[in-house]
């Protein structure tokens, strides 16, 4: 395998968790709820999946545990913002802090444990094509699942009735309520979906990307996923593009550090985060209201009965 091939493969691995988490958050935000707790849900997903996978020696159980943990955290968030109409920004930040702390507690007994790599899907013949063969046809199942998820989310939002209902509620919850659409019910499931995706992204980090647990291992990826949604103007296809751009930035800065360009390594590590800030800045300069933002995003909903 050439270095070039290896770099491409790691870019895919680095991009997949961003893609999964961002897709989940995209659905949540299209329903009009801003959940800033992605980082916390991801950390919980990573800790719980790793703990379950090591304990039961099963990747499948690990993944299930990670998604459950993310969804449970999201359910707590839903209780606050839907049940008590609490401020979404505050609740989301609290969820991140809680998730980072709690994941450290759950993961503590598993520091130092290791998992074996997951066998990639090997499509005989196709994966032997030089360069692109291994890139396209010899990835792990998660990568294919994340691509399928992108397509499914896109179809769901644009083509289905349920997706139309979700978009309407995100666009204007007052009107949606006046028409009798179940605002809180739809948002509850959207928040849960977002949580399960963040949990899955965390599981991928712990079980595939690093294959060990350490506190704070999510390293801001939840925040990048959040920024991706804005960068992508709330469109699934653009989330895919964005996730791979950010994934590439993460990997390439590592190689740039190794190549020793004479730039301090800290500056290079900051590149993906700087890119996040710049992307957000460019968007807000060009448009008063970020383009494509759901109209009711982040506004608490209290039905008037």
């Amino acid at each position: 395998m050439t270095t070039f091939e290896a770099i491409l493969l790691t870019i895919v691995t680095a991009s997949t968790p961003l893609l999964i988490a961002a897709l989940g958050e995209l659905v949540t935000e299209r329903s009009g709820v801003l959940n800033l707790g992605v980082e916390g849900m991801m950390a919980m997903g990573a800790a719980c999946s790793f703990a379950a996978a090591v304990t039961f020696d099963s990747t499948l159980l690990g993944v299930a545990a990670g998604m459950m943990a993310g969804a449970l955290m999201a359910a707590l968030f839903a209780l606050l913002v839907l049940g008590f109409a609490a401020n979404q920004t505050g609740s989301g930040l609290a969820l991140t802090i809680l998730g980072l702390g709690l994941s450290g507690l759950i993961g503590a007994p598993f520091v130092g444990a290791r998992r074996d790599p997951i066998a990639p899907v090997d499509i005989p013949g196709l994966s032997d094509i030089p360069v692109v063969g291994r890139l396209f046809f010899e990835q792990d199942l998660f990568v294919y699942a994340s691509l399928a998820l992108t397509i499914l989310v896109a179809i769901y939002l644009v083509k289905t009735r349920s997706g139309l209902t979700l978009r309407s509620i995100g666009e204007n919850h007052t009107s949606a309520n006046a028409l009798g659409l179940p605002v809180r019910q739809v948002r509850f499931w959207a928040i849960l979906f977002g949580g399960a995706c963040a949990g899955l992204a965390g599981a991928y980090l712990a079980l595939v990307y690093t294959r060990f647990w350490s506190p704070g291992m999510t390293a801001g990826r939840g925040w990048i996923a959040l920024a991706l949604v804005v960068f992508a103007a709330w469109r699934p296809a653009w989330v895919l593009v964005g996730a791979y751009i950010f994934g590439a930035a993460t990997v390439l800065q590592l190689h740039a550090q190794a190549a020793q360009f004479g730039v301090p390594s800290q500056v290079l590590s900051a590149v993906p985060y700087l890119a996040t800030i710049i992307a957000l800045l460019l968007l807000s300069i060009r448009h008063g209201r970020a383009i494509g933002a759901p109209g009711s995003l982040g506004v608490p909903f209290v039905p008037d009965r």
Partner: protein
């Protein structure tokens, strides 16, 4: 002609003793109302009389605290709008229940049951549009449409469900006179086809044009059920308001002079994603006169107000002169120091800070010229100012120095307008001075604006209420898609001419709507 069904047999819908309580406020108090099949029934009342609450109860949006609803004689509970639609109720909301970023077809589909696919919706939309002359483009995004077109979406959305009763809440408040006439024709036709219509309004002329029966609400109660054609406008108004409302005196002699406000070739790009650009605005307001700016909502009124008040700055000082001084690039306080005063459209959150006390709210504009010294607030002075506004403008507020949000809409509006008038400005610019305000407060505000002009100030009123402008303005212009028509004396305008300007027909430029 209308197929008027005599009030015999079983009414289509009957409300008995409907009450709705919000804390101390009884929004609806034992309301009885019955509607016959095919009848156009008016629900009349001032803002805050409880009309919107009542129809939301009927449409299942709000739960009544007490009372019974009978549908064709059977008692029913309408727990949600979905159940209401299943019974055969359709509703056109006052502030439309539309989704700006979605297409026309999507907006319609979202309110229908899930066995309607988008392609069936498109098909039926075309059919209904042709039958009733309600032209709509299925794939346009709603934010690109005019208010009249948006209302058509709501109406078509109801008609697709073959309603037995169509409820319209203040349907003409955002329409041009021509669009309103078109709506009336559609309603007459629906009624003749047997669909009952509950028509909510506070405009007497419309109700007399459309309805044979009207139920009048005041302070949450039914005060009378009458035939609006058999009663005089004055009698009905007295029933609605509780006592006779005087007219605004505008006949004081005046000789407007000077150029207190001069706007020259002012252009501005839109502020937001869906904002309106201002194009080459020219406007002069003279001392002693009231200048009115008419137009359908969203044609650049808020942008014009922002440009005049200094919330958005022009690119050159000469675009705008106050008392002869070029001030296009000056901020709000600098303009205030030149003798200008501004009252924005939104009372809570723009003109006043909801959780601040009235005395603190005087600071918003008075800080430019008084009640502060070297950056410190003179709290006693602020309190004095608040007290004198409350006295001079008949602001009925809770004792002491209440928070702004504790005041009713009409009283808060009197306060924010009084706050500016009491500064004795040479130029006052007001956006929607009486929007959502009861008749008594509206009269007081209009009189105060006219009096200010007669004392030698220039007053500019931006309003969507044509009747208001015809009552108080000396000269008027119409804004359409960011372009201001020439200013003409009020006597030279007819309602029809204003309507044509509102549609842009007079300007003979794009965006002409089918009427």
């Amino acid at each position: 002609m209308k197929a008027d069904v005599p009030p015999s047999g079983t009414p289509l819908v009957e409300l008995k003793g409907i009450s709705k309580r919000y804390g101390d406020l009884l929004a609806n108090d034992g309301i009885d109302l019955s509607i016959e099949p095919g009848e156009i029934h008016a629900l009349l009342g001032e803002n805050g009389a409880g009309k919107s609450t009542l129809v939301k109860i009927l449409y299942g949006v709000i739960e009544p605290s007490a009372g019974e609803i009978r549908w064709e004689g059977r008692p029913v509970t309408i727990g949600s709008p979905v159940e209401a639609r299943a019974l055969g109720l359709g509703m056109v909301f006052q502030h439309f229940s539309l989704f700006d970023e979605l297409s026309v077809a999507e907006n319609i589909a979202v309110a229908l049951s899930s066995d309607w696919s988008l392609s069936t919706v498109r098909e039926k939309l075309g059919e209904i549009s042709r039958t009733y002359g309600l032209a709509l483009d299925a794939d346009r995004a709603v934010w690109t449409l005019s208010a009249g077109e948006r209302q058509r979406i709501e109406i078509v959305r109801c008609l697709l469900q073959n309603p037995r009763l169509l409820i319209l809440d203040e349907p003409t408040s955002v329409l041009t006179p021509q669009e309103a006439e078109h709506l009336f024709t559609t309603l007459d036709r629906l009624s003749s086809e047997g669909c009952a219509i509950l028509y909510i309004s506070h405009k007497l002329e419309e109700v007399r044009r459309l309805c044979r029966r009207a139920t009048i609400l005041r302070a949450g109660r039914v005060v009378a059920t009458i035939d609006p054609r058999a009663s005089s406008a004055r009698e009905i108004a007295a029933l609605m308001v509780g006592n006779a409302v005087g007219e605004v005196r505008t006949d004081a002699p005046h000789h407007p002079q000077g150029e207190t406000l001069k706007v020259s070739n002012l252009s501005m790009p839109p502020a937001g994603l869906h904002g309106q650009a201002l194009r080459d605005i020219n406007l002069v307001a003279r001392a002693g006169e009231v200048v009115g700016i008419a137009g359908v909502a969203g044609n650049g009124q808020s942008e014009l107000f922002a440009a005049l008040s200094g919330e958005r700055l022009a690119d050159r000082p000469e675009a705008l002169a106050i008392n002869g001084k070029p001030s296009g690039t000056m901020g709000i306080d600098a303009r205030r120091r030149l003798g200008a005063a501004f009252v924005p459209e939104e009372r809570l959150g723009h003109a006043a800070a909801p959780s601040h006390r009235l005395s603190e709210n005087t600071l918003i504009s008075h800080a430019a010229t008084e009640v502060s010294r070297s950056g410190f607030i003179l709290m006693n002075a602020a309190k004095r100012v608040a007290r004198s506004i409350i006295q001079s403008f008949d602001v009925r507020a809770p004792e002491g120095d209440p928070q702004a949000r504790k005041l009713s809409g009409g009283n808060l509006q009197k306060f924010v307008i009084g706050r500016e008038i009491i500064r004795k400005p040479k130029l006052l610019i007001v956006d929607q001075p009486t929007w959502g305000v009861d008749a008594g407060a509206a009269r007081l505000i209009r009189q105060a604006l006219v009096d200010l002009a007669r004392e030698g100030s220039a007053v500019v009123i931006v309003s969507q209420d044509l009747d208001e402008l015809f009552e108080v303005a000396d000269r008027m212009a119409v804004i359409h898609q960011g372009i201001l028509s020439p200013l003409k004396p009020i006597g030279e305008w007819t309602k029809e001419a204003v309507g044509l300007e509102m549609l842009g027909v007079a300007q003979a430029q794009g965006g002409v709507h089918a009427v």
